[in-house]
Amino acid sequence: MLRYTMIRTVWVFIILITILSINFILLKNAPEYPPTIEEQREIYYARQVSDGYMTIELERDPEMVETIRQELRNPAESDEYTIIRNAWYRDEGDQFRIYKPVPLINQYFNWVRNIVTEWNWGVSTRVQANVPVYDILLSRIPVTFQLNIVALFFYIPIGFALGILAALRKNSFLDNFISVAVMILISLPSFVTMTFLVLVFGYGLGWLPVQFPPADVTGTIRYTAFILPVLGLSFGALASLTRTSRAELSEVLTSEFLLLARTKGLTQTQAVLRHAMRNSMVPLVPGIIASFVGLLSGSVIIEVIYSIPGTGRIFIRAMTQNNYDFNLILGITAFYTIISLFAILLVDLSYGLVDPRIRMGARK
């Protein structure tokens, strides 16, 4: 077990580093979008230099200065480019101060060093110019986590209860009703359900707020504002949990050992609670952990629809066309990658924890 755990953990770290590295290299290689305001741009490039992503060079040769000036003015007309992409040419009269990106591989190692030694994920360029990405994330993560965890605690008990109910009353009216509801809920895209929830309970009946209140609003609205996004987020997960728990439980209910338990004289309730439930849990617990990852990425669209100031909404803002904020995107995707990978690690380990019969990594 220990050996298996270690292998899985190491493997997760390998995947994590691979994904983050690919992501960093590809995004850094794309055309950059520095801050638009001049002063912020200066601060930004100075920081890039101090973080080791750029170097400063001076161009004093009058001929070159003129060429660069020409090319900066009409970028399309010059055939031979002297301008380097993602570099910043600061015109200082008779000379150019050039902020040149260092080779990508050096940037990469500097990036790793900055993260490992200083936990420095770079600064935002467009969304909140020159604010450290980690600070932005830190202010956004709590809302997203609150939302997802409330959703998790909302759908797990209800999903289990409905699944058990449907399995125990198999082929009754209730079972059929639950099955139909599950089929519908599982098929509806979350943005459709969310839109209708807002339309009916927000605008139509006026019971609940139509969008998430700003952070300075206090009172009950802080709590009621969670109801709609939690519902919109968890309907799909709720339906699939109901479906799998019904399937698992009804399979266990038909097995011989349950018949044996009944013949030994256990009541139906005892048999179900002690024997059937525990056995049906085995595939369910990992499924629930995995669903948290789905929930997290599904919350992006819910955050956009309901204007929730979470990580998903800031991600979409950082992805505004021709206004990309790559450092922020890098930070947010790293966040999502880390969460999902560790959830998957938990899934792998949970098989062994939930069901002691499974000995992970054991030789045959």
Binding site: I19, N23, A30, T195, L199, F315, T333, Y336, S340
Partner: protein, 631 residues
Amino acid sequence: MDYKDTNPEVDKSKLQFVQRDEKIFDKKFETKPVGYFKDAMIRFVKNKTNVVATVILFTLITLSILIPTFTSKNYTTLEPRMAFLPPRVPVIENFGMLDGTVYVENQQIVTSTIDPDTGLGIPDPTRYPTDYINMDTLVNYDIACSEVSENCSGGEVNFANREADSASTFKAPGNFFPALADLPFVTVDVSELQLSGGSTLSVLVNDGSGNYVSIGDVTDVGEQSFNIIDAVANPDDVFFYSTELRFLFENSDPSDYVRLNAIELSSNASTDPLYVASGYDLATFETLDGTGRLSRFGATITMSSFEFDAYGAALGDYRIDTFSKAEYEEIVQSHGDSCSVINNPDNPEGWYLSEGCPVREVVSTSEPVVVDGVEYTSYEVIMNYGLYAGYDEVPYYLAGTTNTGRDLFNLAWVALRTSLLIGVSAALVNITIGIIYGAISGYYGGKIDILMERFSEIIARIPFLVVLAIAVAYIGPGITTLFIVLIVSGWIGVASVTRTQFYRYKGREYVLASRTLGAKDSRLIFRHILPNGVGTIITASILSIPLVIFTESTLSYLGFGIGHGQSFNLGPIEFSGVSIGVLLADGRAEIISRPYLTIWPAVIISILMITFNLFGNALRDAFNPSLRGSE
């Protein structure tokens, strides 16, 4: 247990052997053998819900192909006058629902249109033509307003200063010429005031020599009068008296105010006041100096609500200020007799046209402008849109129209076709990659399998947000990005199913036998193993299609997929850039005022997803008899 109960005795003479004299080992089976697919089909048909779902699904697919092909509607032109029409459905319209009318609320009325009999006013006729307002449903009501506008009437006005310990002067517009001999006086009607120590509101008038002096302070609630003559030291010397009405407000606290109902200038000569200011007039007082601030309280504005025939208005008459003469003549010629000119006795500049002509009336003509030797003249005309655009009768837009005036009902089918096409083609690519990858990985096993498994695990672990970010960074939002996001990790499901199937069959005896006979790898893969696992693989593939459509609509909804104006070609057919996700994203902007824009596309995609999932599950159950308990 009684033996006889279960085995009733049978007379031995009635028993006989089935065959005694014939050999049966070469006899043909009387029943046909049930093959793998037939068996699956039998199981598939047994579940009635799934059959119904499958029929609905295939109806949807057929309609999405047929409706855009057979409707003559053009999906590229814009028709702004037909934009945002509500749904109108035959039969149901007779019950007062979905009849093409909208209930318009909170429209400010034009005061001059108030009908003396009913006391009801109507809003601006250029926006809501009177003919199409259902007068039975028209109601007027007052709501509070605080803006300085003539439409806001009544109420009181606060005189106040923004800062503490300051003074400011307010002035009534204009000059007044009261005769001093008639003893004119200013009446101030105060409804409320809050004055801390040292704060005053005083009335200032001309003292006869151009200086403004106070004739008294407002001290209490109620009407107070101030005689102008008090300001003038020697009334007999003033030959011609004129004055402005000024009010000096001095305060010690910024929360101090005086709330006025009205200000009157009257004299003893007449009972009618010379000047009255209340409500709006008071709010238009000028602030001469200081930090004075006027604000209105309790003013109201009259609004109207009514049912409005949106279709009638859209197809009805409308005015075009500059309509080119050439186009006018073309219309007149093409309509022949129905466009004969009738003189307009009231307007010598213009003329009427006979009934049935798209141009109802020419109001005026402009001076010709000569550009490059060609003469251009424009007319101001009143057109009938229904006749002009060729609507013989009021159309039925079952789901209303979009912001560009397109029929949403038909457009949703076009969108569905696009969504399906993207879904199916991305799924096909995924299935192809998945089967090849899974086959290689499963068939060869060993080190190759381990390496390929690790690779696909890494790919599967990349969150789709990462792929989206990279694709958007390099390509920008659009169809290519959409395909990349759909394909990067989409094939993994099919690959792992295929791999499992290969592990299951590659060790079987018949495969070994074939291998012993010298069959090549490709023959073993494609002839012997793949056909056996095909049921499971098909199911996994079919179930991946709704997932792809789901992702497509989500991305398009967020604005990273396709969008209006984009189009892509597949062979000779051009597909529009409108998918269900795009329609829903459009509807989101209008969700409060026009929910029908969202409802119809949402219904379509919901039905599609539900039936697709049911169909996929039915296939899974049909191909997998060992699957118990899950539908």
